[in-house]
Subunit: 126 residues, 2 copies
């Protein structure tokens, strides 16, 4: 078989689906990843859930740890991480510190995930 | 002032808000944390967003990496993490591998976050 008669198999191009909206920018991805990192620990999720499960989505620090099998310093550390990620805010009243969910923060992440589910326009994190 | 006349300041108890729903169980928290861990990397979020931003929420592996400044082996690693977390599924067609968002996985996380925002009943992960 001569070189000339070798069959040429064309490389099939992939079918590129068009972009229907702008993907996350690198800066937005860094910011959003830090929030997900705060949520990526089972103890932090339990603490957050413990607060969110109470009326008014607020709990005294003395109640938050019920059912969570870690020491008080560890709980304090995890609450600080959640607060620094903007998911919780705290307030001292008399002798006690109360923690409360920041609904806007949770709703924002939920909206972004929804946009990634339905393909609707996502609210890129500010 | 005699001992007897020292004023006694009662320790004020905290105001415990009642539970309005069951918090996450430890097992559910472990499972959910692993999904958030998959989402806690900026490059993974950019890849996921790149797929979700295309029509049909599906993209060829050759298109996913556009605008993401990492090597192909690193992209492959991150896509595997997202797939193992149940957030993506992949399919080979002809010479190309296509990745697509698993909408149920994203919607489930979004529902859980919504429940933590509004205080409505959360769907505890199965």
């Amino acid at each position: 078989m001569s070189k000339q008669s070798l069959p040429i198999t064309p490389i099939q191009a992939c079918t590129a689906a068009p972009l229907v909206r702008e993907p996350l920018t690198p800066a937005a991805a860094v910011e959003l990843a830090s929030v997900f990192r705060a949520l990526s620990d089972p103890v932090r999720l339990q603490l957050l859930s413990s607060i969110a499960s109470r009326a008014g989505q607020e709990a005294c620090v003395c109640d938050i740890s019920a059912g969570v099998e870690v020491s008080q310093p560890t709980i304090s550390h995890h609450l600080r991480v959640l607060r620094e990620a903007g998911l919780l805010e705290s307030e001292r009243r008399a002798s006690w510190v109360y923690y409360r969910i920041v609904p806007e923060a949770m709703a924002r992440i939920s909206r972004i995930l929804d946009a990634h589910t339905t393909g609707t326009d996502a609210a890129v994190p500010a």
